[in-house]
């Protein structure tokens, strides 16, 4: 039996994350990220295919017979915009794809279409606002993406994203779409360096942000024994305005991978939650439990497919989720990768011998 080294995050992995973060892949149009994923994994995985919705499905076979079949899911799509109407003179009306707070839109730069054409979402000059106007939200219907003279290159149906460029700032990683390029990068590493004792069914899914649609059909095709969704989740761990105790932090930056007990879509399988926590403790990997409630991951679709699939989610915490720039810690990402790898390495069928 060969000694496979557990994967770690080094400069190559960070460079890949940068490429992934800067790529534009709004739900329903994941081509740019799909291409990167295919390039990265095709030399490593046994069966690689793209399914009817655009999911990338790949297999790394186990080194032994009868191994546990584990599905790992990471969604390729990000929140963004779709151009819906041409107002001429380079101005385009747009709609939201996925949950974005409209308050973060005015004054941002964007990239439009498959050629990533630069544009801006402008706002009225403050000089011309009336009393009290700066306290009111600018309605989405009145915002426009302005691409100047490039109007002819864009049409309704094109997607757009924030134009944030990825950067490493000290211990932090800052970029757009780290939800869920962090998950995608993690899964790519695991496909390249899989734990030998399980059959790894990797699903790089689509349309998670608009209803977990890719995960549902991917799980049906994979038909695994159990599943882990690897995602990113908000860290609301800042001080409250009145300095009262913050009891709604969800997760904390720097406290390690966040294991889900319950979110709005899934009550995690307690057997898997226990297994992940025990693995972290014995391998001395820092970890935290995500506060129960709210949000969701691909596990929400996966666990209800066919006759049911025991599922859990693990996420890298990130501040300012669903805005133009997420801040995450490199250490949290490293520990997430380590935790998933170690948990799979010491996993066998006995985990399912006790009933849920």
């Amino acid at each position: 039996m060969s000694e496979l080294t557990p994967p770690t995050i080094g400069t190559a992995q960070i460079a890949l994350l940068e490429k992934l973060s800067n790529a534009c892949a709004v739900s329903g149009d994941e081509q740019q990220v799909r291409k990167i994923v295919m390039e990265e994994i095709k030399a490593h995985a046994e069966d690689v295919r793209v399914d009817a919705l655009g999911n990338v499905l790949a297999v790394r076979r186990a080194q032994s017979e009868g191994a546990l079949r584990v599905m790992l899911a990471a969604h390729m799509d990000e929140i963004g915009f779709m151009i819906v109407d041409d107002d001429k003179e380079g101005l385009f009306r747009f709609e939201l794809v996925g949950g974005i707070d409209v308050r973060v839109l005015p004054g941002k730069t964007v990239l439009v279409g498959k050629d990533n054409i630069p544009g801006v979402i402008g706002a009225k000059p403050i000089h011309l606002t009336e009393d009290g106007e700066t306290g009111r939200k600018i309605p989405l219907e009145s915002l426009r993406i302005d691409v100047g003279q490039n109007g002819a290159k864009i049409k309704p149906g094109d997607r757009a994203t924030f134009a944030t460029r990825f950067r490493q700032l000290g211990p932090s990683l800052v970029g757009k779409a780290l939800d869920n390029r962090l998950g995608v990068a993690t899964l790519i590493e695991l496909v390249k360096n899989p734990p030998p004792n399980v059959e790894l069914l990797a699903a790089f899914t689509v349309q998670e942000e608009i209803g977990l649609r890719g995960a549902r059909v991917a799980a049906y095709a994979c038909d695994p024994d159990l599943a882990i969704a690897i995602d990113s989740t908000p860290a609301f761990d800042l001080p409250a305005w009145d300095e009262s105790e913050n009891s709604a932090y969800n997760t904390r930056l720097g406290a390690g991978p966040a294991i889900y007990i319950a979110d709005a879509g899934t009550l995690s399988d307690p057997r898997l939650v226990r297994h992940l926590a025990r693995t972290a403790e014995s391998a001395a990997i820092p970890f935290q439990f995500r506060q129960p409630g709210g949000g969701g991951t691909d596990a929400g679709a996966i666990h209800k497919v066919r006759a049911g699939i025991p599922s859990v989610s693990v996420s890298v915490p990130g501040r300012y989720a669903h805005t133009a720039a997420i801040v995450a810690r490199l250490s949290d990402w490293q520990n997430t990768l380590a935790l998933v790898y170690q948990s799979l390495s010491n996993l066998d069928r006995s985990i399912l011998s006790v009933h849920r």
């Binding site: 739900s27 329903g28 149009d29 081509q31 799909r34 291409k35 793209v50 399914d51 009817a52 919705l53 655009g54 999911n55 915009f81 779709m82 151009i83 819906v84 109407d85 009306r93 709609e95 939201l96 794809v97 309704p156 149906g157 349309q207 608009i210 649609r213 549902r216 059909v217 049906y220 095709a221």
Partner: protein, 354 residues
């Protein structure tokens, strides 16, 4: 064309609320019987019509779905005086209800009208505002004991507004959402009977789209097609619809573009409409198409899907308007698309340009 219009008007004169489509399904079966090789009914009540292709086995399958159910109301209680209170089936704006002629399907079909009680008999806060559905009721003109003998909780109430022919090949009536698309599928079948097609074609009149996408989730599971196309109605420009979401009446088919649509299928069909010089427009939707394609696309391992729509004014009212020409155009486009499918087309479907 007079045949198609007559068939459409026949369909919209029948009740066929979600889950209760029997009367309509019988009529569609009769129309499809001479045009298909096999007719069957799914476990939930969708109508499946199979037209076999000429290619050698195993033949790939395409599924075209048009929901046959319509919105309406259901009885929630009958007062001793014979006033019939109701809830909605599908999305009904209560503001279009007062004075609308309806048919109550109790032990027999009973005509009635939706009544809006006078403000003086309603909570003071209502004064002058639209009356909520829970305060509206149906008055059949019959006496209390007779109504209670004929009507009970759970009985259906359908719109009974008479269809109108308007100049310019327009038809106005209720349930054109989505009987117009069922008519388009029928026109498609008529054209298919005169041309060659290699693929097997499943025409499906789905059940319960307005409530649960019931037919959309279950028929493809049984049929397992390589491509699924939802044929539905979409918003036509007019009063209340003036932005990008509306399209002109009588200007052809709408081709759907968004997450429920497979880009390869979209591009094939768009290229075909251009080749055939058929009027058409692209209809973009950022998240959901609001059609059976939402369900069909995610059945089992997933199905490459497409949405083709007929513009319609005043959707979900008893006075919806469509152009018969648009119905024919969609039928023709679908038939020509099916005829263009070669045996290995399914293997060519891919997401990204090379």
């Amino acid at each position: 064309m007079p045949e198609l219009k007559a068939f459409l008007k026949q369909m919209i004169s029948l009740p066929g609320l979600s889950a209760y489509e029997d009367p309509l399904r019988a009529v569609i079966s009769e129309a499809w019987r001479p045009l298909v090789d096999e007719l069957s009914v799914s476990k939930l009540g969708s109508l499946h019509g199979l037209r076999r292709g000429t290619g050698s086995e195993p033949r790939p399958r395409i599924l075209l779905a048009a929901h046959m159910d319509a919105i309406g109301m259901m009885v929630t209680r009958v007062t001793p005086d014979g006033l019939i209170y109701f809830t909605e089936i599908g999305g009904v704006d209560p503001r279009i209800l007062p004075s609308t002629p309806v048919m109550v399907h109790g032990k027999r079909a009973i005509p009635g009208v939706v009544a809006q009680p006078p403000d003086r008999l309603l909570p003071a806060s209502v004064k002058g505002s639209p009356v909520e559905m829970r305060h509206l009721f149906v008055d059949t003109g019959l006496e209390g004991p007779e109504v209670n003998q004929l009507v009970r909780v759970g009985d259906l109430i359908s719109f009974d507004t008479e269809a109108l022919d308007l100049p310019g090949d327009l038809v106005a009536g209720h349930s054109l959402d989505n009987r117009a698309s069922v008519a388009a599928l029928t026109a498609c079948l008529q054209e298919l009977s005169k041309i060659r097609h290699e693929w097997d074609v499943y025409m499906v009149a789905t059940t319960q789209e307005e409530e649960s996408l019931g037919g959309a989730f279950t028929s493809p599971y049984e049929i397992r097609p390589a491509i699924a196309v939802a044929v539905d109605v979409t918003f036509a420009t007019g009063p209340g619809v003036s932005d990008y979401r509306g399209h002109a009446l009588n200007k052809g088919a709408m081709l759907g573009w968004g997450p429920n649509t497979h880009p390869y299928i979209f591009k094939s069909i768009k290229a075909l409409t251009e080749r055939l010089d058929l009027p058409h427009e692209t209809e973009v939707y950022p998240r959901y198409s609001g059609t059976d394609a939402m369900g069909m696309q995610i059945v089992a391992e997933g199905i490459p899907s497409m949405v083709v729509s007929i513009p319609l004014r005043y959707m979900h009212t008893p006075v919806e308007i469509i152009s018969i020409k648009d119905v024919e155009r969609v039928g023709r486009l679908l038939a020509q698309y099916i005829a263009s499918l070669t045996p290995d087309y399914a293997n060519q479907i891919r997401w990204d340009e090379a």
